[in-house]
Every structure is written in structure tokens, then in C-alpha cells.
Point group: C2
Chain length 337, copies 2
DNA sequence: AGCCAATTTGCAATCGGTTGCAATAACTAT
DNA sequence: ATAGTTATTGCAACCGATTGCAAATTGGCT
């Protein structure tokens, strides 16, 4: 049905090797030959089968895009960016949904069956064991949105969560909140721990400020809402740093239900800056995670690994930035003289 | 590096065919042989290379998942469902992002290079030319969320948009709104046209009700917001059927800005029922598109096509259902006797 | 034990390409 | 012209699997 290299060779009256070479750039072919082959090829509508060639070249141009975050809207943006960036490099993403997968071995087998050239793990919650398993299987890996440490076992690109926690605390303090709270995601997640750590570190410099902490079940609207309902039924803080934007919006909904006003009665700052956070009826003040840069950088690393497989793991850390919107009261204006 | 069939054969002291057969079920192998091969294979950590076998079998188990909707949160849910459903069938999604792609030929070439077994187009806005191009290239296609017609050119599964428009109009009328509006997505989209058609059909049965119509630039929050701002600055209707949930939420934000109350001053009904629509601080009344069923059905069709490539194109239409929340006033209770 | 049929196994060709090597063609310089 | 290079081309083996066919094994039955 579909034309093969052999068909082209016959039609052009040349050897199969010639055709193959005409399609690989940098190969030894005369201009005349290339023209001739291209003519035959286009008449037949031929384009070489990447998978067949992968057998000899060892390159499939397939990149496993593995994630388990299919409920956080920011990941739609992430997938959009990743797929486009990969396509621009002539690579194709093989999407792997690891929701409820616990055994890295399964995923490794799966990806090896398709002999992907590399894997990018795009997840903030997938255990590092997955990344390591891929690496041990000899597959280049980069973990985007992973936990950055000073001695990474695989390439990691993301933000410094400790720093983000610190930034959140600073923002709250600068706006004059006296009792602040940390409402994190699941307590077991290292990202949660790191953010808490930074948050508390900063607060330690301001002993007059009271801090509290709590954790939502999951990174979801409902969990954020319930956690905030719980907090509101007890003595609550004046402002909260929430685990992420989704959690924040859940918290906001609980606050609105109580007829409390934001940011006057309670302030909220989120993390991620997903598109929805900017919607006017949400208008969430949040810490922006530079996803575009993280994606670009991840792709850079993965392509670098393709060229140079022995490259040592590296951590790339991006700074976060606070995005002022309406859920935190404004910075006090410095008094005029 | 990675063990091949040959390695296993040598270690087990059998022929390569024997190993191959041990891994394909239904093949002629004795239990003893299979045991022996499996032992060697597991010692070596071998698993067969799907891509290599695809050369002879003609099956890659790769399904192109093509879409251009990377900004509508409902598609994250769609991708989640599709990837899981495909995985359950032993198939792998090759994600193709067709944002800003206009030439079907490119996509066809791309997918042929990877010799995908089939393609599922998951998009409500991709022109039918793409689906047809894949079909003409001999690749099984199903267009999920496509336009269903009585004489489909490729398999289509989705909702009946005319029906949805009718349902929206009925809901509005049943709730006693006298002046209703259709605030559609881009006017050129056939889905928009169909929904409008159904909407007007129903209204034609109620001549006492006044209807107006307008269209947003795109299916986006901002477009919905701007369109509604525009409408509000003129004489506006009492209730609107918006093109989709995102547009609806944009419209809601414009309404809130004007300090008008929903649903007392203005009612809104959306379409899709994405997760966010149910968030308490959005609480959007909407028409639910049964995405789970659409996905399941699409997968069913694509696997059916793999078994029986000549199968005639079929349209599968799912009924929509209205999800009562807070942006439309309640149905009048029938008066007690 | 002997014969025939049914299973099981291995050989070798094949899928659609790539690539090292040797043969040929095209230049270059004398 | 001619020898010496250099650039092109084709042959044939190979990548990692599958599969038709024939050979070998097994088993059943007399």
C-alpha cells in the first residue's frame, strides 16, 4: 500500500542505498542523484519509515512524555508547550499516563518496548524512583517540575520550593499580615515539605508573626475547600499560602461561603499561575512558576542527552515571581515625606 | 545494551523462532519450551521490541492522538481518559499537537513516518479535512467530538449539536425567561451553527419569546468576557446560552463586574460540564457532554477498525443532559392543587 | 515394536531501512 | 594522456523481530 524505499529505487533506476542516502543529510550523494531520487519519491508519495530506520540507527525520535497530573489545569499548558517544543525538534511525544501506577518497572518495560530515545517526566508528584528507573535502564531522562537538589540523580528542572516558600512568607509579611498560615498539599510530598521549610525559615526572622500550618488531602479543589472550611471553623489566620492554585481556589470558595471578604478578611496566595488564576472572577494572587522556561530547558537537556548520553545529571532552577492580583491586600505605600 | 531475542535464544539454547513464538500467544509452542524461554528472558530482562516486530506484523500499536485544543480544560480530562483507555488496550498514544497547523498533508506524512495503526482526532474545531486526509492515506480514523452527520465520511462520535441547542432553549423557556440570547463561539464553526439552529428551532415554537444572537471571537475566557461586556452595554437578554463553559465563565465575570446578579438579573447556561464548572465559586449550570462515553466509544471504534479495516464509517451520537447548578433560576414548582 | 498423525522446532526469507567496504566514476595536476 | 585523488555508487550484511515451510519430535493406537 504505502511506497517503500525499494519502490523508489526501482522507479528511479538506482540502488536502495542511493535512495536511503538521498534522504539522510550529510550523506555522500551527488546533486544529480538526489534530484533524481526526490523526483521518484515525490511521484510515489514516499517518505521514509522512521521506525524501520530506527532499527539500524538506534534512534526512534520518540520521547516518552510521562506524567500523572491529569487533573491540574496547568498541565494542559505544560503538555501544549512540551508537544510543540518536541515537534519543533523533530521529536514525537509518546504520552504515558501514570495515574495509579506504582511500579516503575512496568513503565520501564513499556518504554523500552517502544525504544524511546528519551523520557521526560513531567510531574511534581511522581516519586523520584521512576526517573531513576529510567536512567538505570539506560534511557536519557529529565524530570521537569521535579525536586531540585544539589546532587541530582537525573536531570531535574524546576523551581526551588524552599525559595518559593520563603517568597510567599515575605509577601505576606510585607503586606502586614500578623497571623499567617501554610495550607500545603499532601504532607508526604517533598515539594510540600520544602515550601513549608522556606516559609518557616523566613518567619523565623520575624518572631512577632504567628504562623500555623495544615495540609490538604490532595491537590484538588475539593481538598482545598474542605481544608479551609475546617480552618475557618477554628481560629484562623489572616492570610494563607496555599499549596497550589487549585487548592487556593478551593480555599477561596470556602471563604466566600462564609461571607468573608478577600483580601480584607483573609488573604490567599497560591502557586503556579495557571491560566485560570488570571480569570477576572478568580483573580488569584499567586507565585508564578515559569513553565515555559522549564519546558524549554527540559527539552534542551533531553536533546543534549541524545547527543552526549554520558552527560552528568544537572539541576536547573528557575526563580519564581509573584503575580499581584486581588487576593492579597496591596503593599503599603511608603508614606510621603 | 538491551538484550534482544537473539540473546535470549542463545542463552536458552533454542532457535530465535522459538523465542519469538514463546512471546506471541496462540503460537505453536510446547509448555516446556515456553517455560525455558521465559526463564532465559527474565534472567536477561528481555522484552520484545514492538517497533521491530511491527516491520513484519504491520502493527505498531501506536495510535495518533491528534488535537488542537490545548487551551480548554475539558481536554485535559479528555486526554486523561484517552490515554488510560488506550493503555488498557495495549495501545500507545502518539500525541500530535495541531495548533496552528493548517495543512493536513503534513500531519499525514508525520503519522505515516511512524506508521501508526490508527488515528483519533480529538477536537471540536479541527476541520473535517484532516480526518479525511488520514482516511485517504489508509489509516483508520475516528473523529471524537466531531460533527455528527447522517452520512459520515469517517467515524465520528460526539453529541448532536442541534439537539444541544434545542435543549438549551427548552431549559431557558421552561425557567420562564422571556428574552433569551445565543452567545456562540466562532461563527464559522459548524458546531456553533448547529447549536444555533437547534436553539432557534425550539424558539420558533414559542413565538412570544424574543431571541438574539452573537458570537465570540474564540472559545476563550477573554472572548466570552468581552462579548458579554458588549452585550451588557446594549439592551441585553435575560438569559444566554453560551458556546461552552469557558465562554460562559468569561461572560459571568463580565456580569459580576457590572454588579448584576446571576441568576436573578441574568441567567447563563454553558456546554461541556468541565470539572471547573462544578467548582462552588463558579457553579455553572451547563449541558453535560458525556466525554467518558464519547471516549470509550471512540476507542471501541478504533479497535474495531484495527480488526476490520474496511468497516463503514459510522456516527455515534450521545445525548446531552442538563446539569442544574446556580446560574439559571430554578424551574417553577408546579402549583399545589 | 511399528506406523501414522499431530505437534513442535528450526531454517531461511522477509519486513523497511542503513552502512562498511569495494568498485566505479569524476576530477586534478602533471 | 596518465597517474593519483576524491567523490559517488552499489553490493551485501545487518538491525530485531516474524512466519511459511519442511524436518524432527512426540504421542496414540494396534
Amino acid at each position: 500500500m504505502v511506497p517503500t524505499l525499494k519502490d523508489v529505487a526501482e522507479r528511479a533506476g538506482v540502488s536502495r542505498s542511493a535512495v536511503s542516502r538521498a534522504f539522510t543529510d550529510g550523506a555522500s550523494v551527488s546533486a544529480k542523484m538526489r534530484k533524481r531520487v526526490e523526483k521518484a519519491a515525490s511521484e510515489l508519495g514516499f517518505s521514509p519509515n522512521v521506525l524501520a530506520s530506527s532499527l539500524t540507527t538506534g534512534r526512534t525520535k520518540l520521547i516518552g512524555l510521562v506524567s500523572n497530573n491529569f487533573h491540574n489545569p496547568i498541565f494542559l499548558e505544560v503538555f501544549d508547550l512540551f508537544t510543540r517544543a518536541l515537534q519543533d525538534q523533530g521529536l514525537r511525544p509518546l504520552l504515558v499516563n501514570l495515574t495509579d501506577e506504582t511500579d516503575p518497572a512496568n513503565s520501564v518495560r513499556m518504554l523500552r518496548q517502544y525504544s524511546v530515545d528519551g523520557v521526560v517526566v513531567a510531574s511534581s508528584t511522581l516519586p523520584p524512583a521512576f526517573g531513576k528507573a529510567f536512567r538505570d535502564a539506560g534511557v536519557p531522562v529529565v524530570h521537569a517540575f521535579g525536586r531540585v537538589t544539589s546532587a541530582p540523580e537525573v536531570h531535574v528542572v524546576g523551581i526551588d520550593n524552599i525559595d518559593a516558600g520563603r517568597l510567599a512568607a515575605q509577601s505576606l509579611i510585607a503586606r502586614g499580615y500578623q497571623r499567617v498560615g501554610f495550607m500545603g498539599g499532601p504532607e508526604v510530598a517533598t515539594s510540600t515539605q520544602d515550601r513549608l521549610k522556606g516559609f518557616l525559615q523566613e518567619l523565623a526572622l520575624h518572631p512577632q508573626i504567628r504562623a500555623s500550618q495544615s495540609f490538604a488531602r490532595t491537590y484538588s479543589f475539593e481538598a482545598g475547600r474542605e481544608e479551609m472550611q475546617d480552618l475557618l471553623s477554628r481560629a484562623h489566620a489572616e492570610a494563607y499560602f496555599c499549596g497550589d492554585d487549585v487548592l487556593s481556589i478551593g480555599a477561596l470558595s470556602a471563604i466566600q461561603d462564609r461571607r468573608l471578604s478577600v483580601p480584607d478578611d483573609i488573604g490567599i496566595i497560591g502557586l503556579n499561575d495557571m491560566e485560570i488564576a488570571g480569570w477576572h472572577n478568580i483573580n488569584l494572587t499567586t507565585i508564578r512558576q515559569p513553565i515555559k522556561e522549564i519546558v524549554t530547558s527540559s527539552i534542551e537537556l533531553i536533546t543534549a542527552m541524545l547527543r552526549e548520553p554520558a552527560r552528568l545529571p544537572e539541576a536547573r532552577i528557575f526563580a519564581c515571581q509573584i503575580v499581584e492580583r486581588g487576593t492579597l491586600r496591596p503593599l503599603p505605600t511608603t508614606a510621603a515625606p
